[in-house]
Amino acid sequence: GAGVSQSPSNKVTEKGKDVELRCDPISGHTALYWYRQRLGQGLEFLIYFQGNSAPDKSGLPSDRFSAERTGESVSTLTIQRTQQEDSAVYLCASSLIAGVGETQYFGPGTRLLVL
């Protein structure tokens, strides 16, 4: 079956602009995660959804970052007034449920470059 997909695959934007990143999880997966990975760094947890609810938003770096999920499916990560330090790969993952033993399946990521 289809894996996790993300769009766009690459995004170049100017400082101060807003961007929207999209994630389509594996069908039937109720949990969805967003991570940020800066060049040469590990994965930085941003937010996760169980269904359409986000129990843990603790990883969002600032109030410029927000995310939503609808229909227990597609999720959108929005970054407002982008800054150069927002440049990174944004990875989405999904799992059957949100649980510590659940395997996460990752998408290919969106590479964001803020000029």
Binding site: V4, Y33, Y35, Q41, G42, L43, F45, Y48, P55, D56, L91, A93, A98, G99, V100, G101, T103, Q104, Y105, F106, G107, P108, G109
Partner: protein, 110 residues
């Protein structure tokens, strides 16, 4: 804080030898540890999960150990091949989310 640490330096191993990667955790006793592989420009791919009551888990040429006394997991690739070259991420369970280490880059030299 609940940390998970991996050797940030790249590891170079001769083809055919066993590669061993280390993952250490502090201030927390995770119920699970997971290992993922990440190739350049791609998302991580799940490899193995080991539970706290398991000493060892194997999958083909891969072996993972979990030592709760040392607070450490070792990840072994036997009979290593150049295609095994990648970054390997250790992740530990934490409440309701997974915490990832920064990963260790492995180079298998032909």
């Amino acid at each position: 804080s609940q940390k998970i640490e991996q050797n940030s330096e790249a590891l170079n191993i001769q083809e055919g030898k066993t590669a061993t990667l280390t993952c250490n955790y502090t201030n927390y006793s995770p119920a699970y540890l997971q290992w993922y592989r990440q190739d350049p420009g791609r998302g991580p791919v799940f490899l193995l999960l080991i539970r706290e009551n398991e000493k060892e888990k194997r999958k083909e040429r891969l072996k993972v150990t979990f030592d709760t006394t040392l607070k450490q997991s070792l990840f072994h690739i036997t009979a290593s091949q150049p295609a095994d070259s990648a970054t390997y991420l250790c992740a530990r369970s934490g409440d309701d989310k997974i915490i990832f280490g920064k990963g260790t880059r492995l180079h298998i030299l032909p």
